[in-house]
């Protein structure tokens, strides 16, 4: 304790020399701590992105296949096609209708993968509701759907308005509700049990309900499309009313599947929508949430294996993921992490160099003092403790000042690094050309847009000005672990600084030192 006190006294009594060392250390430690904070923030941000982006996949009919079906049907005479459809049996008609759908069994089988933590199935269909009046706006989807033989026939023959029905296994897991674009204001959403039991229940939009005088518990009639003369009706019970919280993103034409400006969209159990669409056992897509973005690649490989083994028709179905979104967001963050790690190592090296050189100069300049201390009976331990306390004081003062300064500069440094890396990534993307943009596998904009149009819940990572790029911000937050690292750095530097007097004291021969004039 006395040695420590002597060290503290010595620290105070050598203000100029110590101030120089403190200032040099302060600069390097400020940079070190800032880089550490930036690195930790970037790493933590990547983990956060992993939880929101890159951990989602959809098994669905490929757009190429959809286009192929479309091209085939466009080449046919509609009247002839309708005549052929009239001659089809139920099985043939189902097969025809399901050309752009996925068998439920395939999506179910794929959901058994260990990487998948939650799973849903989705089907959208255009349904005629004879007693309900809507805004009369046809959705782009309805236009698309009408091109398929069964739907076209049904829609054209419908006496009432057509409405978009979205079915899944659980109302609460519908993308619009997860994203917050829709909010239940009355009644309840359908449950998994409703899906299993095919309970004819439906959730309707608030304005639509008001215009049609619908309330929870009321019944509405839906026409089930079928072959000529085989239409039937289903009575649906309104169990919930929702309101649209935010305008849907179809205004720019990117998100045509959910374009529904008037909110004339109904939500019902998947099994009910399948029945209304006359496509039992088929879904539009299987929606999968993975345990981590890291599993996205594994799952893609598994899908490729399934294709190569013939379990899935590779030319018909595709596994779409948002991993490219994850990459485009996380790449600048990972680069920031790497850059800050290198900078941290450099700054710590500079700290180490400064403290070692400073201690060499300080201890070297006080060699006679060391000799005197040993001559008057100080043990090596006493001398060492005294110098260790002095070094610790120097480092502590520098570290405290640096901690304060780094809280001010680390956010700016982090933002600057992120900006630089994002700009570099953008330049690289532009140099590569639009065909190689992270968002798409091909250069055809329509396909890229299709790939991005995933049925996933929204996250905090919104689209930036570039339609294909998502961005993330770097929030440098000081956490407890940073304090621990700071203390470890402080101790490490102090120990390194103390090593100089240790070596010096061991090698010191007081007689030689004291004999020097």
């Amino acid at each position: 304790m006395r040695s420590v006190k002597r060290g503290l006294r010595s620290f105070v009594r050598h203000p100029l020399a110590n101030l120089v060392v403190v200032l040099l250390l302060f600069v390097c430690l400020t940079f070190s701590l800032s880089m550490l904070a930036v690195k930790m923030a970037a790493d933590s941000q990547v983990e956060e992105v992993k939880r929101s982006v890159g951990n989602y996949a959809e098994l669905r009919v490929s757009l190429e296949h959809q286009m192929q079906v479309y091209q085939e049907q466009r080449g046919q005479d509609p009247a002839k096609r309708q005549a052929e459809a009239r001659k089809m049996s139920e099985e043939e008609l189902l097969e025809e209708r399901a050309k752009i759908l996925v068998p439920e069994q395939v999506t179910d089988d794929f959901s058994m993968r260990p990487e998948i933590i939650s799973y849903d199935k989705v089907l959208e269909a255009v349904v005629v509701l004879p007693d309900i009046t809507g805004p009369g706006v046809e959705t782009l989807l309805s236009l698309r759907r009408r091109l398929s033989p069964g739907s076209a026939q049904a829609s054209s023959s419908a006496g009432g308005s057509s409405f978009l029905f979205e079915g899944n296994t659980h109302g609460a897991s519908a993308s619009d509700f997860l994203r917050g674009a829709k909010r239940l204001v009355e009644g309840s959403l359908y449950t998994y049990q409703d899906y299993l039991n095919a309970n004819p229940v439906v959730v309707v939009e608030k304005t639509l309900a008001e215009e049609n005088g619908l309330r929870v518990g009321d019944a509405i009639t839906a026409r089930i499309t079928g072959a000529e003369g085989r239409d039937s009706e289903m009575e649906l019970t309104v169990i919930g009313i929702y309101e649209t919280v935010e305008a849907e993103s179809g205004g720019t034409g990117q998100d045509f599947q959910t374009f529904n400006p008037a909110g004339n969209k109904f939500y019902a159990p998947l099994s009910v929508v399948q029945e209304l669409n006359s496509t039992p056992g088929y879904v539009e897509l299987g929606s999968y949430y993975l345990d981590s973005a890291d599993s996205s690649r594994t799952l893609s490989l598994a899908f490729q294996d399934m294709v190569s083994e013939g379990l899935v028709e590779g030319d018909k179905y595709e596994l779409a993921t948002d991993y490219s979104d994850f990459e485009s967001i996380s790449d600048p963050l990972l680069k920031v992490s790497r850059t800050s790690t290198i900078a941290l190592a450099g700054a710590l090296g500079a700290c180490a160099l400064i403290i070692v050189l400073a201690m060499f100069i300080i201890v070297g300049g006080r060699t006679r003092e060391l000799g005197v201390l040993k001559a008057i009976g100080a043990t090596d331990r006493q001398v060492l403790l005294q110098y260790a306390a002095e070094v610790l004081c120097v480092c502590l003062v520098a570290a405290v000042l640096a901690a304060g300064a780094s809280t001010v500069v680390s956010q700016q440094l982090g933002d600057w690094l992120l900006r630089e890396n994002t700009a570099a990534a953008d330049q690289a993307s532009q140099a590569q050309g639009p065909g190689d943009l992270p968002g798409g596998r091909t250069g055809i904009p329509a396909l890229r847009n299709m790939e991005e149009n995933l049925y996933k819940k929204g996250g905090r990572f919104s689209f930036s000005s570039s339609p294909t790029r998502q961005t993330a911000e770097l929030d440098v937050i000081y956490r407890g672990i940073l304090l621990v690292y700071g203390i470890l750095i402080l101790l490490g530097i102090s120990l390194l600084g103390t090593a100089v007097p240790v070596v010096w004291i061991n090698r010191l021969r007081p007689a030689r030192v004291l004999a020097m004039e």
Binding site: R2, R6, R9, S10, R13, H14, R368, E369, G371, V372, L373, K374, A375, I376, G377, A378, T379, Q382, R509, P510, A511, L514, A515, E517
Partner: protein
Amino acid sequence: MYEKEDLLEVRKVSKTFRSGSAEVKAVDEASFRAQKGEVTVILGPSGSGKTTLLYLIGSLERPDAGEINVFGEDICRPDADLVSYRRKRVGFVFQTFNLIPSLTALENVTLPMDLDGVPAGEQRRRAEELLAGMGIEGRLLRARASRLSGGEKQRVAIARALANDPDLILADEPTGNLDSATGRVVVDILTGLAKREGKCVIIVTHDEGMLRAADWAYQMRDGQLRGIEI
């Protein structure tokens, strides 16, 4: 009062320094005795080995051969407690004072006691007493050692040497950096320590004038020590 008794016996002590292939025999089988209450002066020109002999006695160097007995205890034994010896049995006074410049006069004197674990209050009381005995009082107590004059520094250095009340005072050219008047004061202090307090004072110097203070005197030349008549 104190009783005269043998305190120091240096017996056939040798020390050779090697630098590459060159060898310098700094001390060559030096032998002498010293008693409490006596001043022993070792005269010799620069490089004669007198400082080396003093450092051997003070255990700052280890001899290649021979024995150095202090109160009958050989300090050259490998298991000798040299730290305790330096703290309590011996006090050094150097030509260049060797005070710690960042400490005050008072702190320089309390330092050996602090290293020995003496309570702070006792350290201060004794340091003030010793410094008062050397004529260092008042504001000088709190003056940094670097601000003191040469004479003041040497008196502080003597007070520091006496801090733990050692029996043996080893003075290496104690007046070398002082003017003659101040040098005389320092010599008087050292003589007084021997005569009044029974310290065994060994002074190495090239100044023959110091012989007036000596009870015993030796001449050192090329590492060899021989007695001289006073």
